[in-house]
Amino acid sequence: MPTMAEEVLAAKAGREVVPGEFISVEPDWCLLHDGGFLAFRYLEEMSAGVARPGRVVVAFDHICPANSPETAGLQDYVREMVGRYGIENFFDCGCGICHQVMAEEFARPGDVIIGGDSHTLTAGALGAFAAGMGASDMAVLLATGEVWLKVPESIKVTVEGEPGAGVFPKDLALSIIAQLGPDGANYRAVEFHGSTVMDMDIPGRMTLCNMAAEMGAKTAMVPPDGRTAAFTGQRGVELTRRSPDRDAEYLEEMAFEPPSSPMVAVPHRVDDARSVEEVEGTEVDQVFIGSCTNGRLEDLEAAEGVIRGREVRARTLVAPASRRVLLEAAEAGLIASLARAGCVILPPGCGPCLGQHQGVLGEGETAFSTSSRNFRGRQGSPEAGIYLGSPATAAATAVEGRIADPRRYL
């Protein structure tokens, strides 16, 4: 039996595929964000057009709204290209992070999605084969409608066990990365299985797949089930494939349990994750709740549950992952509650995750972030330190002004 990745790629290639072989496929979706200007510039240098404009999705999220005349100019350039090439799936400023938009609007089980961003694999939570690439690859994909891939070997990660109070998908992801290392899944397709994963809602599975980028995975996938069907249902998608416990050939099979405590990654490595007890009390200047990792409604709910009725001590920035998330959070009263507690509400998008606007860290500052990366200099000064954790831990930290165990607030 093929693995999930092999099955999806075989369906696209129209024949059986084996790990290690090079194949050319026509992806269902080609995803770009405002950083996609480089791909369009290459496309112009190639004097090529866009082969399948209906299959291209462009969402502005990284530096949106623009923070400088240069950025504004680059975004205008992308808008012009989007118009020139007839790309109708265009989501301007404020619509949301490209990966969130992809999951909410387009991705389906069995799709192949290639995006110009390393967290493209987030859509694997819906059973798609989704992988990130750079600008040249994206340009050639735009021009030809095709991309070459090496069929990856697959790793099966099975997680069994009921997570305790305060332990969320982010904590599980950090715990797995701490055990596998930042290249533990390099070049591989990761398949997540087990009751812990299948009991997660789709946003939780998205967090898990998203963080697989931090183990180097090419793609990460969760077998589609009833929850997947419900999530993509409004798109009239039919679920065709797969039972989660079939017999496939994996390079490796690994079993994990949810960690017993909330996890926190300490500066400057994502895999340097410890239990919250070890870092509790560390003073924090800024807290960020958002990103393609943890900016969904369920994340804001978890954070608001902790913050509600209190006042935040740290500067706390909240960015919903999409306009849909913002609207749902507003309707549920979460936005008002967070703002009342002193949080700064940012527009849907990446926010301070990539260190360019909306909360850049100064020298010597310490941040707690629900995003995916804490590399040196990621959110501003190289002399700042970033801790990573779940929205609940971030919220408890915001309330106390120092890293705090969320279990005291649940």
Binding site: E45, M46, G116, D117, A139, N186, G216, G377, P382
Partner: protein, 161 residues
């Protein structure tokens, strides 16, 4: 295709945020990217000209920014030899025409050693220490991309020729 240069040693998991911080990504101009290479590490970009970077595991992990290998190339780095590469960085490096070679033995090269990397033959010679090591040569289509100076040039040539 052969590259000769002096070694710059680096460790494991060198990430794209230290290669070129996000705030410099708003340009595609290779020359201006080159002036900020390794800024978070405090390295002088002028010191990268003619260098071969020899690194440990997972070089280039992190974001998909193609500006990372572009910045290294434009700062004059001739080749990167590492125990392993993060997959997107590896693809991007080839696509901008910067050779990236996986070789475990490379770890026994020191800062300043002179290396010769023969890409077609799959051979690294440490001229300072006198050892020779082999690596798996690239498949033909990868070699073609490198020899064309990158994927975009390769595409143009393919179409025009």
């Amino acid at each position: 295709m052969r590259v000769v240069g002096r070694v710059l040693r680096m460790g494991d998991h060198v990430d794209t945020d230290v290669i070129i911080p996000g705030r410099y990504l708003r340009t595609a101009d290779p020359a201006s990217l080159a002036t900020h290479v390794f800024e978070p590490l405090g390295l002088d970009p002028a010191d990268l000209a003619g260098r071969i970077i020899v690194a440990g595991r997972n070089f280039g992990c992190g974001s998909s920014r193609e500006q990372a290998p572009l910045a290294l190339k434009s700062a004059g780095v001739g080749c990167i030899v590492a125990e392993s590469f993060a997959r997107i960085f590896f693809r991007n490096a080839i696509n901008v025409g910067l050779p990236a070679v996986e070789c475990v033995r490379a770890g026994s090269a020191d800062d300043g050693d002179e290396l010769l990397v023969d890409l077609r033959a799959g051979r690294i010679e440490n001229r300072t220490r006198g050892w020779v090591s082999a690596f798996e040569p690239y498949p033909d289509f990868v070699m073609e991309i490198l020899e064309a100076g990158g994927l975009i040039n390769r595409y143009r040539r393919g179409r025009d020729g």
